[in-house]
Amino acid sequence: MLKERKEQTIVFKNKPRIIGNYSIVGPKEGKGPFGKMFDYVMKDDFFGEKTYEKAERKMLEHAIFGATDKAKLNPKDIDMLVCGDLLNQIITSSYAARAYDISYLGIFSACSAMALSIGIGASMVNAGYFQNVACATSSHFSTAERQFRFPLELGNQRPPTSQWTCTASGCTVISSEGRGPYIDSVTFGKVMDFGISDVNNMGAAMAPAAMETMISVFHDTKTTPDDYDLIITGDLGKLGAEILMDLMEQQGYKLRENYCDCGQMMFYYDQNVLMGGSGCGCSASIFNSYVIERLKTGQLKNVLYIATGALLSTTSCQQGESVPGIAHAIVVKSNVVTKSKTITKKEKNKIANKVEKQLSKFKSEEN
Protein backbone atom coordinates (compact mmCIF):
# COMPACT_ATOMS: atom_id res chain seq x y z
CA MET A 1 0.00 0.00 0.00
CA LEU A 2 3.01 2.22 0.19
CA LYS A 3 3.72 4.44 -2.70
CA GLU A 4 6.96 6.00 -3.64
CA ARG A 5 6.86 9.64 -4.58
CA LYS A 6 9.50 11.10 -6.76
CA GLU A 7 8.66 14.69 -7.42
CA GLN A 8 5.66 14.55 -9.79
CA THR A 9 5.59 10.83 -10.47
CA ILE A 10 3.78 8.17 -8.48
CA VAL A 11 5.09 4.65 -9.04
CA PHE A 12 2.50 1.98 -8.30
CA LYS A 13 3.79 -0.95 -6.27
CA ASN A 14 0.61 -3.02 -6.45
CA LYS A 15 0.37 -3.01 -10.23
CA PRO A 16 -3.22 -1.96 -10.99
CA ARG A 17 -4.29 -4.01 -13.99
CA ILE A 18 -6.22 -2.94 -17.05
CA ILE A 19 -8.88 -5.62 -17.37
CA GLY A 20 -11.35 -3.96 -19.72
CA ASN A 21 -11.13 -1.54 -22.60
CA TYR A 22 -13.67 -0.30 -25.11
CA SER A 23 -13.63 2.33 -27.80
CA ILE A 24 -16.37 3.82 -29.92
CA VAL A 25 -15.91 6.32 -32.74
CA GLY A 26 -17.90 8.27 -35.29
CA PRO A 27 -18.13 7.45 -39.01
CA LYS A 28 -15.37 9.83 -40.09
CA GLU A 29 -12.93 8.43 -37.53
CA GLY A 30 -13.96 4.93 -38.58
CA LYS A 31 -12.63 5.66 -42.07
CA GLY A 32 -9.23 6.59 -40.66
CA PRO A 33 -6.13 4.38 -40.41
CA PHE A 34 -7.30 2.79 -37.14
CA GLY A 35 -10.91 2.29 -38.23
CA LYS A 36 -10.69 -1.50 -38.02
CA MET A 37 -9.17 -1.45 -34.54
CA PHE A 38 -12.08 0.25 -32.80
CA ASP A 39 -14.72 -1.82 -31.07
CA TYR A 40 -17.64 0.05 -32.56
CA VAL A 41 -17.99 2.53 -35.41
CA MET A 42 -21.15 4.60 -35.40
CA LYS A 43 -23.09 4.80 -38.66
CA ASP A 44 -24.05 8.45 -38.18
CA ASP A 45 -23.23 11.24 -35.76
CA PHE A 46 -26.64 11.21 -34.12
CA PHE A 47 -26.33 7.59 -32.92
CA GLY A 48 -30.12 7.30 -32.93
CA GLU A 49 -30.59 10.29 -30.65
CA LYS A 50 -32.27 13.64 -31.23
CA THR A 51 -29.42 15.98 -30.31
CA TYR A 52 -25.64 15.73 -30.52
CA GLU A 53 -25.33 16.16 -26.77
CA LYS A 54 -27.54 13.12 -26.23
CA ALA A 55 -25.55 11.20 -28.83
CA GLU A 56 -22.31 11.96 -26.98
CA ARG A 57 -23.87 10.83 -23.72
CA LYS A 58 -25.02 7.59 -25.32
CA MET A 59 -21.51 7.03 -26.69
CA LEU A 60 -20.07 7.35 -23.19
CA GLU A 61 -22.69 5.01 -21.69
CA HIS A 62 -21.96 2.58 -24.49
CA ALA A 63 -18.22 2.74 -23.84
CA ILE A 64 -18.58 2.17 -20.10
CA PHE A 65 -20.88 -0.80 -20.69
CA GLY A 66 -18.60 -2.22 -23.32
CA ALA A 67 -15.53 -2.00 -21.13
CA THR A 68 -17.20 -3.64 -18.15
CA ASP A 69 -18.52 -6.33 -20.44
CA LYS A 70 -15.09 -7.00 -21.87
CA ALA A 71 -13.76 -7.22 -18.31
CA LYS A 72 -16.45 -9.87 -17.71
CA LEU A 73 -18.03 -7.74 -15.04
CA ASN A 74 -21.49 -6.37 -14.38
CA PRO A 75 -21.73 -2.57 -14.04
CA LYS A 76 -22.75 -3.23 -10.43
CA ASP A 77 -19.29 -4.69 -9.76
CA ILE A 78 -17.66 -1.37 -10.58
CA ASP A 79 -16.82 0.54 -7.41
CA MET A 80 -16.18 3.91 -8.90
CA LEU A 81 -16.58 5.80 -12.15
CA VAL A 82 -14.09 8.52 -13.11
CA CYS A 83 -15.34 10.53 -16.08
CA GLY A 84 -14.51 13.69 -17.96
CA ASP A 85 -15.43 15.48 -21.16
CA LEU A 86 -15.18 18.82 -22.93
CA LEU A 87 -18.59 20.39 -22.53
CA ASN A 88 -19.52 23.08 -20.03
CA GLN A 89 -20.13 21.66 -16.54
CA ILE A 90 -19.05 18.27 -17.94
CA ILE A 91 -22.68 17.44 -18.65
CA THR A 92 -21.89 14.40 -20.77
CA SER A 93 -20.14 12.61 -17.91
CA SER A 94 -22.60 13.60 -15.23
CA TYR A 95 -25.64 12.64 -17.28
CA ALA A 96 -24.06 9.38 -18.37
CA ALA A 97 -23.25 8.58 -14.74
CA ARG A 98 -26.94 9.00 -13.96
CA ALA A 99 -27.55 5.66 -15.64
CA TYR A 100 -25.31 3.81 -13.20
CA ASP A 101 -25.57 3.04 -9.51
CA ILE A 102 -21.89 3.77 -8.91
CA SER A 103 -20.03 6.49 -7.02
CA TYR A 104 -19.03 9.04 -9.58
CA LEU A 105 -16.07 11.36 -9.78
CA GLY A 106 -16.41 13.98 -12.51
CA ILE A 107 -13.19 15.57 -13.68
CA PHE A 108 -12.39 18.34 -16.09
CA SER A 109 -9.01 18.43 -17.70
CA ALA A 110 -9.97 19.29 -21.28
CA CYS A 111 -8.50 16.80 -23.76
CA SER A 112 -6.18 15.23 -21.18
CA ALA A 113 -9.09 13.70 -19.27
CA MET A 114 -8.24 10.10 -20.22
CA ALA A 115 -4.77 10.05 -18.65
CA LEU A 116 -5.99 11.96 -15.62
CA SER A 117 -8.91 9.62 -15.01
CA ILE A 118 -6.67 6.56 -15.39
CA GLY A 119 -4.16 8.18 -13.04
CA ILE A 120 -6.81 8.84 -10.39
CA GLY A 121 -8.38 5.42 -10.86
CA ALA A 122 -5.07 3.60 -10.65
CA SER A 123 -4.10 5.54 -7.52
CA MET A 124 -7.35 4.50 -5.84
CA VAL A 125 -6.89 0.87 -6.83
CA ASN A 126 -3.24 0.85 -5.84
CA ALA A 127 -4.08 2.27 -2.43
CA GLY A 128 -6.62 -0.51 -1.97
CA TYR A 129 -9.65 1.70 -1.52
CA PHE A 130 -11.47 0.27 -4.51
CA GLN A 131 -11.25 -2.93 -6.45
CA ASN A 132 -12.64 -2.01 -9.87
CA VAL A 133 -12.61 1.51 -11.24
CA ALA A 134 -13.94 2.53 -14.65
CA CYS A 135 -12.25 5.51 -16.30
CA ALA A 136 -13.93 7.04 -19.33
CA THR A 137 -14.00 10.13 -21.52
CA SER A 138 -15.78 11.21 -24.63
CA SER A 139 -15.87 14.03 -27.14
CA HIS A 140 -18.10 14.82 -30.09
CA PHE A 141 -17.23 17.04 -33.04
CA SER A 142 -20.61 18.69 -33.32
CA THR A 143 -21.07 19.50 -29.63
CA ALA A 144 -17.54 20.88 -29.32
CA GLU A 145 -17.88 22.92 -32.51
CA ARG A 146 -21.14 24.41 -31.29
CA GLN A 147 -19.68 25.31 -27.93
CA PHE A 148 -16.21 26.52 -28.84
CA ARG A 149 -16.41 27.68 -32.45
CA PHE A 150 -19.18 28.37 -34.94
CA PRO A 151 -22.58 26.95 -35.83
CA LEU A 152 -22.26 23.79 -37.90
CA GLU A 153 -23.87 25.14 -41.07
CA LEU A 154 -21.95 28.43 -41.15
CA GLY A 155 -20.06 28.68 -44.43
CA ASN A 156 -16.62 29.60 -43.18
CA GLN A 157 -13.17 28.20 -43.82
CA ARG A 158 -11.21 26.50 -41.06
CA PRO A 159 -7.87 28.21 -40.36
CA PRO A 160 -4.86 26.14 -41.47
CA THR A 161 -3.69 25.44 -37.89
CA SER A 162 -7.07 24.22 -36.63
CA GLN A 163 -7.75 20.64 -35.61
CA TRP A 164 -10.77 18.38 -35.93
CA THR A 165 -12.44 17.38 -32.67
CA CYS A 166 -12.88 13.62 -32.83
CA THR A 167 -16.24 12.01 -32.32
CA ALA A 168 -14.99 9.27 -30.07
CA SER A 169 -15.24 7.78 -26.64
CA GLY A 170 -13.13 5.32 -24.68
CA CYS A 171 -13.34 3.51 -21.38
CA THR A 172 -10.77 1.59 -19.36
CA VAL A 173 -11.54 -0.65 -16.38
CA ILE A 174 -8.76 -0.86 -13.82
CA SER A 175 -8.72 -3.61 -11.24
CA SER A 176 -6.50 -4.75 -8.42
CA GLU A 177 -6.80 -8.31 -9.68
CA GLY A 178 -6.75 -10.03 -13.02
CA ARG A 179 -4.26 -10.37 -15.80
CA GLY A 180 -3.18 -8.10 -18.55
CA PRO A 181 -1.19 -4.89 -18.84
CA TYR A 182 -0.60 -2.92 -15.66
CA ILE A 183 -0.14 0.74 -14.91
CA ASP A 184 3.39 1.32 -13.74
CA SER A 185 3.36 5.00 -12.90
CA VAL A 186 1.43 8.20 -13.30
CA THR A 187 2.73 11.74 -13.60
CA PHE A 188 0.30 14.55 -12.92
CA GLY A 189 1.38 17.55 -14.94
CA LYS A 190 1.62 21.27 -14.33
CA VAL A 191 -0.32 23.98 -16.11
CA MET A 192 1.98 25.65 -18.61
CA ASP A 193 1.23 28.84 -20.48
CA PHE A 194 3.65 30.11 -23.08
CA GLY A 195 1.40 32.96 -24.15
CA ILE A 196 -0.29 31.46 -27.21
CA SER A 197 -3.59 33.30 -27.60
CA ASP A 198 -4.70 31.85 -30.97
CA VAL A 199 -7.65 29.56 -30.20
CA ASN A 200 -7.13 27.82 -33.51
CA ASN A 201 -3.59 26.81 -32.66
CA MET A 202 -4.09 24.43 -29.76
CA GLY A 203 -1.13 22.23 -30.64
CA ALA A 204 1.31 25.06 -30.00
CA ALA A 205 -0.47 25.94 -26.74
CA MET A 206 -0.26 22.38 -25.43
CA ALA A 207 3.25 21.44 -26.58
CA PRO A 208 5.07 23.17 -23.66
CA ALA A 209 2.90 21.32 -21.13
CA ALA A 210 3.63 18.03 -22.89
CA MET A 211 7.36 18.85 -22.82
CA GLU A 212 7.27 19.66 -19.09
CA THR A 213 5.45 16.44 -18.21
CA MET A 214 7.61 14.33 -20.50
CA ILE A 215 10.81 15.68 -18.96
CA SER A 216 9.58 14.98 -15.44
CA VAL A 217 8.67 11.42 -16.46
CA PHE A 218 12.14 10.81 -17.88
CA HIS A 219 13.78 12.53 -14.93
CA ASP A 220 11.71 10.90 -12.20
CA THR A 221 11.87 7.36 -13.55
CA LYS A 222 15.44 7.72 -14.85
CA THR A 223 14.54 6.63 -18.35
CA THR A 224 15.19 7.95 -21.83
CA PRO A 225 12.81 8.08 -24.82
CA ASP A 226 14.49 4.98 -26.24
CA ASP A 227 13.44 2.87 -23.25
CA TYR A 228 9.83 2.93 -24.40
CA ASP A 229 8.33 0.85 -27.18
CA LEU A 230 5.88 3.60 -27.91
CA ILE A 231 5.44 7.18 -26.76
CA ILE A 232 2.09 8.68 -27.67
CA THR A 233 0.85 12.17 -27.01
CA GLY A 234 -2.82 13.08 -26.85
CA ASP A 235 -3.85 15.50 -29.52
CA LEU A 236 -1.05 17.89 -30.39
CA GLY A 237 -1.66 17.52 -34.11
CA LYS A 238 0.97 17.82 -36.80
CA LEU A 239 2.22 21.27 -35.81
CA GLY A 240 2.16 20.58 -32.07
CA ALA A 241 4.05 17.31 -32.50
CA GLU A 242 6.77 19.03 -34.54
CA ILE A 243 7.06 21.77 -31.90
CA LEU A 244 7.27 19.16 -29.13
CA MET A 245 10.08 17.33 -30.93
CA ASP A 246 11.99 20.61 -31.26
CA LEU A 247 11.39 21.54 -27.63
CA MET A 248 12.51 18.12 -26.42
CA GLU A 249 15.63 18.31 -28.52
CA GLN A 250 16.47 21.64 -26.91
CA GLN A 251 16.12 19.89 -23.53
CA GLY A 252 18.50 17.12 -24.60
CA TYR A 253 16.01 14.34 -25.38
CA LYS A 254 15.70 13.11 -28.93
CA LEU A 255 12.33 11.66 -29.87
CA ARG A 256 12.71 8.98 -32.53
CA GLU A 257 10.37 6.76 -34.53
CA ASN A 258 8.75 5.39 -31.38
CA TYR A 259 7.07 8.77 -30.85
CA CYS A 260 3.60 9.28 -32.29
CA ASP A 261 0.76 11.73 -31.85
CA CYS A 262 -2.83 10.45 -31.66
CA GLY A 263 -4.14 13.50 -33.50
CA GLN A 264 -2.00 12.56 -36.46
CA MET A 265 -2.76 8.86 -36.17
CA MET A 266 -6.53 9.31 -36.17
CA PHE A 267 -7.06 10.47 -39.76
CA TYR A 268 -5.59 10.04 -43.21
CA TYR A 269 -4.05 13.11 -44.75
CA ASP A 270 -6.76 13.40 -47.39
CA GLN A 271 -9.61 13.44 -44.86
CA ASN A 272 -9.41 17.23 -44.78
CA VAL A 273 -8.68 17.67 -41.09
CA LEU A 274 -5.73 20.07 -41.53
CA MET A 275 -3.51 19.56 -38.44
CA GLY A 276 -5.21 16.34 -37.34
CA GLY A 277 -7.62 15.24 -34.65
CA SER A 278 -8.17 16.64 -31.18
CA GLY A 279 -10.55 16.21 -28.28
CA CYS A 280 -10.36 13.81 -25.36
CA GLY A 281 -11.95 11.03 -27.38
CA CYS A 282 -9.08 11.13 -29.88
CA SER A 283 -6.39 9.71 -27.62
CA ALA A 284 -8.90 7.82 -25.46
CA SER A 285 -10.15 5.74 -28.38
CA ILE A 286 -6.68 4.98 -29.76
CA PHE A 287 -5.35 4.14 -26.30
CA ASN A 288 -8.29 1.85 -25.59
CA SER A 289 -8.11 0.06 -28.90
CA TYR A 290 -4.73 -0.14 -30.58
CA VAL A 291 -2.44 0.44 -27.59
CA ILE A 292 -4.14 -1.81 -25.04
CA GLU A 293 -4.78 -4.60 -27.57
CA ARG A 294 -1.10 -4.55 -28.54
CA LEU A 295 -0.11 -4.53 -24.87
CA LYS A 296 -2.39 -7.50 -24.28
CA THR A 297 -0.78 -9.50 -27.05
CA GLY A 298 2.67 -8.49 -25.89
CA GLN A 299 3.64 -6.74 -29.12
CA LEU A 300 4.12 -3.60 -27.06
CA LYS A 301 5.61 -3.92 -23.61
CA ASN A 302 6.29 -0.45 -22.35
CA VAL A 303 4.14 2.50 -23.40
CA LEU A 304 4.28 6.11 -22.29
CA TYR A 305 0.95 7.83 -22.85
CA ILE A 306 0.80 11.59 -22.43
CA ALA A 307 -2.62 13.17 -22.86
CA THR A 308 -2.57 16.89 -23.43
CA GLY A 309 -5.30 19.44 -22.92
CA ALA A 310 -5.91 23.10 -23.65
CA LEU A 311 -7.70 24.63 -20.69
CA LEU A 312 -9.63 27.36 -22.42
CA SER A 313 -13.20 28.54 -22.40
CA THR A 314 -15.03 30.82 -24.81
CA THR A 315 -15.25 33.47 -22.09
CA SER A 316 -11.54 33.51 -21.34
CA CYS A 317 -10.51 33.74 -24.98
CA GLN A 318 -13.03 36.50 -25.71
CA GLN A 319 -11.41 38.44 -22.87
CA GLY A 320 -8.08 38.08 -24.62
CA GLU A 321 -6.50 35.54 -22.26
CA SER A 322 -3.85 33.18 -23.57
CA VAL A 323 -4.45 29.43 -23.67
CA PRO A 324 -2.94 27.41 -20.80
CA GLY A 325 -2.00 23.80 -21.47
CA ILE A 326 -1.89 20.73 -19.25
CA ALA A 327 -0.50 17.24 -19.76
CA HIS A 328 -0.75 14.11 -17.67
CA ALA A 329 1.30 10.99 -18.32
CA ILE A 330 0.86 7.34 -17.54
CA VAL A 331 3.27 4.48 -18.15
CA VAL A 332 1.60 1.20 -19.03
CA LYS A 333 3.63 -2.00 -19.04
CA SER A 334 2.88 -5.51 -20.08
CA ASN A 335 4.51 -8.78 -19.04
CA VAL A 336 2.49 -10.92 -21.41
CA VAL A 337 4.59 -13.27 -23.48
CA THR A 338 2.02 -15.46 -25.19
CA LYS A 339 0.26 -14.24 -28.28
CA SER A 340 -3.51 -14.32 -28.00
CA LYS A 341 -5.67 -14.41 -31.09
CA THR A 342 -6.98 -11.16 -32.50
CA ILE A 343 -10.68 -10.42 -32.46
CA THR A 344 -12.49 -10.84 -35.77
CA LYS A 345 -15.09 -8.44 -37.08
CA LYS A 346 -17.90 -10.89 -36.40
CA GLU A 347 -16.98 -11.19 -32.76
CA LYS A 348 -16.72 -7.43 -32.53
CA ASN A 349 -20.29 -7.03 -33.81
CA LYS A 350 -21.40 -9.68 -31.36
CA ILE A 351 -19.94 -7.74 -28.46
CA ALA A 352 -21.51 -4.51 -29.71
CA ASN A 353 -24.94 -6.16 -29.98
CA LYS A 354 -24.57 -7.66 -26.53
CA VAL A 355 -23.67 -4.27 -25.10
CA GLU A 356 -26.66 -2.67 -26.80
CA LYS A 357 -29.00 -5.31 -25.38
CA GLN A 358 -27.59 -5.03 -21.89
CA LEU A 359 -27.81 -1.28 -22.00
CA SER A 360 -31.49 -1.29 -22.89
CA LYS A 361 -32.16 -4.01 -20.33
CA PHE A 362 -30.35 -2.09 -17.67
CA LYS A 363 -32.27 1.07 -18.51
CA SER A 364 -35.62 -0.67 -18.38
CA GLU A 365 -34.64 -2.09 -15.00
CA GLU A 366 -33.86 1.40 -13.84
CA ASN A 367 -37.31 2.55 -14.85
Binding site: D45, Y52, F141, S142, E145, F150, P151, L152, E153, L154, G155, N156, Q157, P159, T167, D198, N200, N272
Partner: protein
Protein backbone atom coordinates in the same frame (compact mmCIF):
# COMPACT_ATOMS: atom_id res chain seq x y z
CA UNK B 1 -23.29 43.61 -76.36
CA UNK B 2 -24.27 46.09 -73.68
CA UNK B 3 -25.77 43.36 -71.47
CA UNK B 4 -22.64 41.30 -71.90
CA UNK B 5 -20.51 44.24 -70.76
CA UNK B 6 -22.79 44.85 -67.77
CA UNK B 7 -22.52 41.22 -66.69
CA UNK B 8 -18.76 41.31 -67.17
CA UNK B 9 -18.52 44.36 -64.92
CA UNK B 10 -20.83 42.72 -62.37
CA UNK B 11 -18.65 39.64 -62.32
CA UNK B 12 -15.38 41.53 -62.12
CA UNK B 13 -16.41 44.05 -59.45
CA UNK B 14 -18.31 41.46 -57.37
CA UNK B 15 -15.40 39.04 -57.60
CA UNK B 16 -12.94 41.77 -56.70
CA UNK B 17 -14.91 42.75 -53.58
CA UNK B 18 -15.06 39.13 -52.46
CA UNK B 19 -11.35 38.73 -53.14
CA UNK B 20 -10.70 41.73 -50.90
CA UNK B 21 -12.65 39.91 -48.21
CA UNK B 22 -10.59 36.76 -48.74
CA UNK B 23 -7.36 38.76 -48.44
CA UNK B 24 -8.66 40.07 -45.11
CA UNK B 25 -9.45 36.49 -44.02
CA UNK B 26 -5.98 35.24 -44.88
CA UNK B 27 -3.93 38.19 -43.66
CA UNK B 28 -5.76 38.97 -40.44
CA UNK B 29 -7.63 35.68 -39.77
CA UNK B 30 -10.82 37.62 -39.04
CA UNK B 31 -13.96 35.65 -38.32
CA UNK B 32 -16.87 35.92 -40.73
CA UNK B 33 -18.81 38.22 -38.37
CA UNK B 34 -15.99 40.76 -38.45
CA UNK B 35 -15.68 40.53 -42.22
CA UNK B 36 -19.39 41.28 -42.56
CA UNK B 37 -19.14 44.18 -40.11
CA UNK B 38 -16.19 45.78 -41.86
CA UNK B 39 -17.86 45.52 -45.26
CA UNK B 40 -21.13 47.03 -43.98
CA UNK B 41 -19.07 49.88 -42.57
CA UNK B 42 -17.31 50.23 -45.91
CA UNK B 43 -20.72 50.42 -47.62
CA UNK B 44 -21.90 53.19 -45.29
CA UNK B 45 -18.71 55.16 -45.90
CA UNK B 46 -18.93 54.69 -49.68
CA UNK B 47 -22.53 55.93 -49.66
CA UNK B 48 -21.72 58.90 -47.42
CA UNK B 49 -18.95 59.99 -49.78
CA UNK B 50 -21.23 59.36 -52.83
CA UNK B 51 -18.63 57.01 -54.26
CA UNK B 52 -21.17 54.18 -54.10
CA UNK B 53 -23.44 55.72 -56.71
CA UNK B 54 -20.53 56.16 -59.06
CA UNK B 55 -19.52 52.47 -58.74
CA UNK B 56 -23.16 51.37 -58.98
CA UNK B 57 -23.58 53.21 -62.28
CA UNK B 58 -21.43 50.62 -64.05
CA UNK B 59 -21.10 47.67 -61.64
CA UNK B 60 -24.82 47.29 -60.77
CA UNK B 61 -25.27 44.05 -58.79
CA UNK B 62 -21.51 43.68 -58.53
CA UNK B 63 -21.56 46.23 -55.73
CA UNK B 64 -25.14 45.93 -54.47
CA UNK B 65 -25.22 42.16 -53.88
CA UNK B 66 -22.17 42.16 -51.58
CA UNK B 67 -23.01 43.28 -48.04
CA UNK B 68 -21.60 46.68 -49.06
CA UNK B 69 -24.96 47.25 -50.78
CA UNK B 70 -26.75 46.60 -47.48
CA UNK B 71 -24.61 49.22 -45.73
CA UNK B 72 -25.14 51.65 -48.60
CA UNK B 73 -28.94 51.29 -48.48
CA UNK B 74 -28.86 51.86 -44.71
CA UNK B 75 -26.89 55.07 -45.18
CA UNK B 76 -28.92 56.16 -48.21
CA UNK B 77 -32.17 55.69 -46.31
CA UNK B 78 -30.88 57.65 -43.34
CA UNK B 79 -29.59 60.50 -45.53
CA UNK B 80 -32.79 60.82 -47.60
CA UNK B 81 -35.08 60.60 -44.57
CA UNK B 82 -33.02 63.11 -42.63
CA UNK B 83 -33.58 65.58 -45.45
CA UNK B 84 -37.35 65.05 -45.65
CA UNK B 85 -38.29 64.23 -42.05
CA UNK B 86 -35.52 65.91 -40.11
CA UNK B 87 -34.31 64.35 -36.85
CA UNK B 88 -36.97 61.64 -36.95
CA UNK B 89 -35.59 60.56 -40.33
CA UNK B 90 -32.17 59.95 -38.80
CA UNK B 91 -33.79 57.36 -36.56
CA UNK B 92 -36.23 55.75 -39.00
CA UNK B 93 -34.52 56.10 -42.39
CA UNK B 94 -31.83 53.44 -42.22
CA UNK B 95 -33.93 50.47 -41.14
CA UNK B 96 -36.86 51.56 -43.29
CA UNK B 97 -34.76 51.20 -46.42
CA UNK B 98 -33.40 47.77 -45.42
CA UNK B 99 -36.51 46.42 -43.69
CA UNK B 100 -37.18 44.05 -46.61
CA UNK B 101 -33.81 42.32 -46.35
CA UNK B 102 -33.79 42.01 -42.57
CA UNK B 103 -37.38 40.77 -42.40
CA UNK B 104 -36.73 38.27 -45.17
CA UNK B 105 -33.62 36.99 -43.40
CA UNK B 106 -35.50 36.58 -40.11
CA UNK B 107 -38.53 34.90 -41.66
CA UNK B 108 -36.60 32.46 -43.83
CA UNK B 109 -34.14 31.69 -41.06
CA UNK B 110 -37.00 30.94 -38.69
CA UNK B 111 -38.88 28.76 -41.15
CA UNK B 112 -35.88 26.79 -42.39
CA UNK B 113 -34.53 26.37 -38.87
CA UNK B 114 -37.81 24.77 -37.91
CA UNK B 115 -37.79 22.48 -40.94
CA UNK B 116 -34.15 21.36 -41.14
CA UNK B 117 -31.68 19.91 -38.70
CA UNK B 118 -28.01 20.96 -38.47
CA UNK B 119 -25.70 18.31 -39.87
CA UNK B 120 -22.07 17.63 -39.04
CA UNK B 121 -19.57 19.31 -41.35
CA UNK B 122 -18.28 17.10 -44.09
CA UNK B 123 -14.98 18.87 -44.51
Amino acid sequence: METFLTYLYVFLVGGFVCMLGQILVIKTSLTSARILVSFVLLGVILEATTLYDYIYSFAKSGISVPIIGFGASLAKGAILASKTKGVLGVFTGGLEATAGGITAAVIFAFVFALIFKAKTKKS
